[in-house]
Subunit: 427 residues, 2 copies
């Protein structure tokens, strides 16, 4: 999951956790699946595989995968998926590792994925260290544990001979974190993707009670005002990009504050980073800011974005109008993050199955809000959710990130149940 | 001279060069001084000393003197002044090297100084390189040439036995450039200085026509808004320091623009550098800007500064009023540059003598505006000017700085004339 959302959770999100339950229909369906001898056997296989899954987990964690540099890990993960028995494995143009396990019917396609990228830059020490039973390493929980679990699910269906009706794509995705801007999952749903996807299970984080079906969308921009620059006294009267930036912030904040207090879905806005200028006695040649806005409602997201665009133009026009000499100021507005909003229908088969699979593991399901790979399918109306891979974890996005195998197999079992419910058991 | 002013000149200052001339009284006085046999002999001594002055010049240039790190050069300069025959030499608490040559009357004190500091950081290659007759090295013209000339004037009065009526302080000053904020000269006029100073000749730059008597004052601030910081979505509603900064800029620019268009002495303002923030999705814990304002009129300077202070408080109050949770924003306003404005009276004895000494060398005197060590005495009503040390120069404040000995002795001769006119010849 993104840094954003981990922090969001840590920093006291206003969201309240509400335990949900599945309808009788889906509870019964799930009880049926979990009761099948093949599935019982598969549950035991997931437990038996634990030492091997841990080995895979450590091996993958120790291959650095900084933003935009997932390729080494991707190649290894492709080998591992191939060795686990996938029918075919390839790496797509966005760097996603895709392993196809054909279904008996083959009319539907279900994705089960975890993301390969971490937030950590090149050169970060990713060696796994043990303190008692706890494993410490950057990226160990977010999201390398999930990669190992996705692999273990493939191994399990292979070993137990479970055949699904739908094709299943086991995927390691790229670019989930921050600046990656969901580029892996976006590619899967583009015309360069593997074809029609009918349902999408993203495994991210470890908590086995959370079901992320509400997608916090966001727009992020780098806005840069550019002028000729010059000496503060000798060239006085030239446009000053900082003045235009300040005015843009001022007008946006005025409008956005009002808008965000109006009735409606929660919307937030932020000027995060500003910069520009060379010295106190130089008129800067550029002034820039990084801004972020979010909402679960696409409509509200686009509305607050529109206020920003108007404020930028107003700031630009006013500074140009004020200048005494020289060329006009220009502005460059670059969209650097675009995550759509959306909410999965709680009564849909997919969400009901996600709830029922959680209850089947005696965990208390809760539908939650976050910004994850599921944003893309949900925004496109494809059934999807993001769920955890099991065990306990903390310190995500910090050098002190850790993971502990506290009944971690339950995460794997829940994932298997949801996958089988969605893909259908052919035999 | 400061970077500021060199750029100012380069970038098309609106100031127009006007040739001035001295009144008959001071022209005659100067003709009298220049005609004395001792002074004629001294003029020849300055020419004869040229090879030695060049050697001193190179030696001093090759001792690095970055801002706040003038001490090595200062110790050497103190030795050289002592060896040249000063009655006593000491280094004051601001690092200025002060060499006293007692006068016969000793009731007045005249300062002749150049600044020791350069703009170049530690590690800059200051080895002097020759291309034909031209000397290249960072700091060679600004202001090391002047240090060598001030020393040569002391040597000359010693060698020729000229005694002055007034005490003369030959000084190497510290902190003239940018961030030094004139700390050397400020100390000379403080209660930690060498006592009452009656007139002040600053040697800076090389041009022998310029007489800087109009002082461009400036106020510079680092303004920092500080809040708790937090996650852009999870902590939404906390104060955002960028918002307050933007509002402060917006309000200041509105008021300052209006004020600077009103009739009166020219006044300029600038937001030069801005910064703060850690990531696009974090509410920053701080937001800062470096601002600069200038005028030859102290009154106008203080007025535009007052507008800034009001805008800062307005920005602060508005953002605090808008917050939904958490502590108030705070602001830190730090004065980082304070150079007073002022203008030397063109009809005063000092300025008339500066004009007459220039004319005596057949150069065309012009009263100019700049920001130099003379700002301090002039603001305090002490007769002062900044004049050049002779020769041709360019590329000041760049690694390609150069100096060429094109009748450089004329600069030294002009300085000697002004010094003798001010200090009085005792025999």
């Amino acid at each position: 999951m993104t840094s954003t959302q981990l922090l969001y959770a840590q920093e006291g999100s206003p969201e309240v956790r509400t335990i949900v339950s599945a309808s009788k229909k889906y509870s019964q369906e799930m009880t049926g699946i979990a009761g099948k001898p093949a599935v019982k056997k598969a549950f035991q296989t997931l437990i038996d595989l634990q030492p091997e899954t841990l080995k895979d987990h450590i091996l993958l964690t120790e291959i650095p995968a900084p933003p935009y540099k997932e390729m080494v890990r991707a190649k290894k993960y492709a080998e591992m998926l191939q060795a686990a028995g996938a029918d075919s494995v390839w790496i797509d143009n966005a760097g996603n590792v895709i392993a196809l396990r054909k279904g008996k019917g083959g009319k539907k396609t279900v994705v089960l994925e975890a993301h390969m990228d971490t937030v950590f830059p090149e050169g970060t020490d990713v060696k796994v260290k043990f303190k008692g039973d706890t494993l410490f390493a950057p990226g160990i929980a977010d999201d390398t544990r999930s990669l190992a679990v996705v692999l273990s699910v493939l191994k399990t269906v292979e070993k137990t001979g479970i055949e699904t009706d739908a094709n299943v794509l086991f995927i390691g995705t790229t670019g989930e974190e921050g600046q990656g801007d969901l580029r892996g999952v976006k590619n899967l749903f583009s015309d360069k993707g593997p074809g029609k996807i009918d349902s999408y299970i993203a495994v991210d984080g470890t908590d086995i009670t959370r079901i992320v079906t509400r997608c916090l969308g966001s727009h992020r921009y780098r806005i840069t005002f550019k002028g000729p620059g010059g000496h503060s006294s000798g060239s006085f009267g030239l446009v000053n990009p900082h003045n235009a930036l300040a005015r843009a912030i001022h007008y946006w904040v005025l409008d956005a504050d009002k808008f965000s207090r109006e009735d409606g879905v929660r919307v937030t806005y932020n000027v995060g980073v500003i910069g520009g200028g060379t010295s106190v006695n130089s008129i800067p040649f550029e002034s820039w800011m990084d801004v972020d806005m979010r909402s679960e409602s696409n409509e509200r997201l686009f509305a607050i974005d529109k206020l920003l665009q108007a404020a930028i133009q107003k700031g630009l026009a006013e500074e140009n109008q004020m200048k005494r000499s020289g060329p006009d100021l220009k502005v460059e507005v670059k969209l650097v993050g675009d995550r759509p909003s959306g909410t999965g229908d709680p009564n849909s088969a997919f969400v009901q199955r996600a709830i029922a699979s959680t209850t089947a593991l005696k965990a208390e399901p809760s539908l939650e809000v976050s910004s994850t790979n599921s944003n893309i399918p949900i925004a496109k109306g494809v059934p999807a959710a993001t769920i955890g891979s099991g065990g306990k974890a903390g310190g995500a996005h910090s050098l002190g990130e850790w993971w502990l195998d506290d009944k971690g197999y339950e995460g794997a079992q829940r994932i298997l149940l949801l996958l089988l419910a969605e893909a259908g058991i052919a035999k």
